[in-house]
């Protein structure tokens, strides 16, 4: 199994001063480079990105992995070993911060590993780009995030097909969905149209709807608006 891309970053925007009760703990590390457009004023105030851990259990392990630039995660391995439940003092400081966004792109998260993500009840943005083990079964598990999830990105996941996309209709709060570059989807243009119909309030980024269409040889030079011969 090939190792995923160099570094895993679980990114979250930290509320500046808001304490919304105890959620997943977060940890401050060196700021990352990717800056995205700010969504709200509060988030603008957070001028650096923090890597966050999703559950206390694998915090320490994560730190080691990050430093070594080697991430060989299997979702299962995360949950089993660290049952100790204690973590370094940094985490305690930011424990009360709710996790709003998780960027797990390239990470080898799988069906069981999603348990950790589903525990985040206020997750608004989830990026699972190029995750090699995220498949249709994993997508069917995302429904507990329905009330909060607004952005989901699945670009480049090799195992997702249109059958898994069909169960995204649970996510009624979804506003942005990225389904570009899904090699296992048989009919990308048609799938995108069907997903847009299924999620009327959501902006779907993905394959161009005309991607699957081919012009016949005699029609290529004709005006595309003219009616097809019967």
């Amino acid at each position: 199994m090939a190792a995923p891309r160099a570094s895993l970053h679980l990114v979250a925007r930290v509320w500046n001063g808001g304490t919304r009760g105890i959620r997943g703990p977060s940890r401050v590390l060196a700021p990352e480079g990717n800056q995205k457009e700010g969504r709200s004023l509060l988030r603008f105030l957070a001028d650096r990105f923090h890597d966050v851990e999703v559950l206390r259990d694998y915090l320490l392990r994560k730190q080691v992995m990050k430093v070594n630039q080697k991430n060989r995660f299997q979702g299962k391995e995360w949950i089993r070993p660290n049952q100790r439940g204690h973590f370094s003092l940094d985490f305690l400081k930011l424990q009360a911060v709710p996790v709003e966004a998780v960027d797990a792109s390239g990470c080898a998260i799988n069906y069981q590993g999603l348990d950790s993500l589903l525990a985040l009840k206020e997750l608004q943005s989830l990026w699972l780009q190029h995750c090699p083990h995220v498949d249709d079964w994993c997508l069917s598990r995302l429904h507990p995030l329905a009330s909060s999830l607004q952005e989901l990105s699945l670009a480049g996941c090799p195992r997702i097909s249109e059958r898994g996309l069909a169960c995204l209709h649970h996510l009624w709060n979804l506003r942005r969905l990225d389904i570009s570059d899904l090699p296992a989807v048989s009919n990308p243009g048609l799938t995108r149209i069907l997903v847009e119909e299924m999620l009327p309030n959501c902006e779907v980024l993905g394959a161009d709807w005309a991607q699957g269409l081919k012009l016949g040889p005699e029609e290529q030079s004709r005006d595309p608006a003219s009616p097809m011969p019967a």
Binding site: D136, H143, R163, L165, A166, S186, T191, V195, E197
Partner: protein
């Protein structure tokens, strides 16, 4: 005599030519010749399949430990788990006897392919949960070296069961049972239904239960081929033939209470070859009846049910053939990608098929309307009269649809309580059942296969306790009625 044959064989072989060839460089492929000779000797020795006069490769072996009657998904699942759980490896010789290697009438491949956990009996929920786990990890269970991984095309769209006023309380109870076992089902009111699925007409619906995860439909042919491939790689023998006779011996015994019983033990299975009068008697230790819709006939061959009615000897295996129709139609304005497997209170069901606005569905006929199971002809009037009206009433978009095709398949219908029969027969000591699932056999096959293998190898159920599915309930009259049967 054996030694002289050996010497003769060797004498005529390379050594007989003398040592003269060694000088000119060895053109002898010594390794290959030795292995060929070894194979020949092995086939002469008792237990081998050598018949010097005729080619008998199409016949089953003369001895097998377990003979599985029926090569559908249940039979292959039992074979798989027997080979997987046996200790030591390679200890058991399993023979699967399947009458039709094209599976043209098998229930497995004609099935709509759905899998759900929404049952009323807790054991059914457990069976289904394990089976869906099996399907999710199918490439770990059924991996064969150098073969491509399987894609069962699972659609995790869930099942939506609708209930009228009368059935609402039962549905609530069922959902409680399902949740206790670990299924993720949620209850919806008609209003929530309308919000979620605007194409449904909720008239007459009081409550709906929707499976959020691990429910949906898949490709049964892929599962069957995957099992077949894996099971062949594990060394299970296949034979295309029909079981026509069981040769058994019986003993008179007395029970603790002084009653006399006739215990039977099957010694031989006669397998008749297709389109021929030739048969092969296969000596066996255990017979597994996984013949699906024809299990009743196989059980009769073993003498089950031959006795005064009302006694254990006279209790037949109540599994019959029942014909069911499936229709495929196209409806351009129909429900979209989110369509689950919808089951109406009237028993009509449908699900989405592919991306082209096609739908599969049907309805189970009432007892009086049961079609004649003699053939697999489709009755299109049944769709017009019974299925379409309920469909159009439930989903107004289905008022204009066009039937593209249809087919018919058999249910191995258990007339007693529509639940499976698993485990040994109390009187025929070495016949085990894995049949009678009345339309939900495919979705429970992996788990049932494991249960039967545990029963055969260990003598009791280890993981899922299916003791309420034993044969003896037919005699004792204890129904395990499954209410959510479509």
């Amino acid at each position: 005599m054996l030694r002289s044959a050996l010497l003769l064989g060797l004498g005529r072989g390379p050594l007989g030519r003398g040592l003269s060839t060694h000088r000119g460089g060895s053109t002898l492929d010594w390794e290959r010749k030795v292995s060929e000779i070894k194979k020949k000797i092995q086939s002469i020795l008792p237990g081998g399949a050598w018949d010097p006069l005729y080619n008998t490769s199409y016949l089953p072996p003369e001895h097998a430990d377990v003979v599985i009657v029926g090569g559908g998904v249940l039979g292959l699942s039992v074979a798989y788990w027997l080979k997987k759980l046996e200790k030591p490896r390679g200890a058991i010789r399993v023979l699967v006897v399947e009458r039709d290697h094209t599976y043209s009438r098998a229930s497995t491949v004609l099935s709509v392919g759905g899998i759900r956990q929404q049952f009323s009996v807790p054991e059914n929920v457990q069976l289904s949960l394990f089976s869906v786990d099996f399907l999710r990890n199918i490439n770990e269970y059924l991996a064969v070296v150098d073969d491509p991984p399987l894609d069962i095309q699972f659609n995790p769209s869930g099942y939506l069961l609708l209930a009228s006023e009368k059935g609402a309380a039962i549905m609530e109870n069922n959902v409680k049972v399902q949740r206790q076992e670990g299924a993720k089902v949620c209850l919806m009111s008609p209003e929530q239904l309308r919000n979620k699925f605007p194409w449904i007409n909720t008239e007459g619906v009081a409550l709906a239960s929707y499976g959020m995860e691990q429910e949906g439909w898949f490709d049964p042919w892929c599962l069957l081929q995957g099992l077949r491939r894996k099971v062949q790689s594990m060394g299970v023998l296949f034979c295309q033939g029909e079981v026509t006779r069981f040769v058994s011996s019986s003993h008179h015994m007395e029970t603790m209470s002084g009653e006399e019983v006739n215990l039977k033990r099957i010694h031989e299975v006669h397998v008749k070859i297709d389109q021929s009068l030739e048969y092969q008697p296969v000596e066996c230790a255990i017979v597994i009846n996984a013949a699906g819709a024809w299990s009743g006939q196989v059980a009769e061959l073993a003498g089950i049910g031959k006795g005064p009615p009302g006694t254990l000897q006279g209790t037949k295996l109540p599994v019959e053939l029942r014909k069911r129709y499936v229709y495929l139609w196209h409806c351009p304005q129909g429900p979209g990608l989110e369509t689950p497997f919808v089951i109406d209170p009237s028993g009509t069901y449908f699900r989405r098929e592919g991306l082209g606005q096609n739908y599969l569905g049907g309805c189970s006929p009432t007892e009086e309307e049961e079609p004649d199971p003699g053939n697999l002809e489709v009755d299109h009037d049944f769709f017009q009269d019974k299925v379409w009206p309920t469909l159009a009433q439930r989903v107004p978009a289905f008022e204009s649809l066009k039937v593209r095709s249809a087919w018919a398949g058999y249910y191995d219908y258990n007339t007693f309580d529509q639940n499976g029969v698993v485990g040994p027969h109390p009187l025929v000591l070495n016949m085990y059942f894995a049949t009678g699932f009345s339309g939900h056999g495919l979705q429970q096959a992996p788990a049932v296969g494991r249960a039967v293998a545990e029963m055969v190898l260990e003598g009791h159920f280890k993981t899922i306790n299916l003791s309420s599915f034993l044969f003896s309930r037919f005699y004792l009259g204890e129904k395990v009625q499954e209410r959510n049967i479509i």
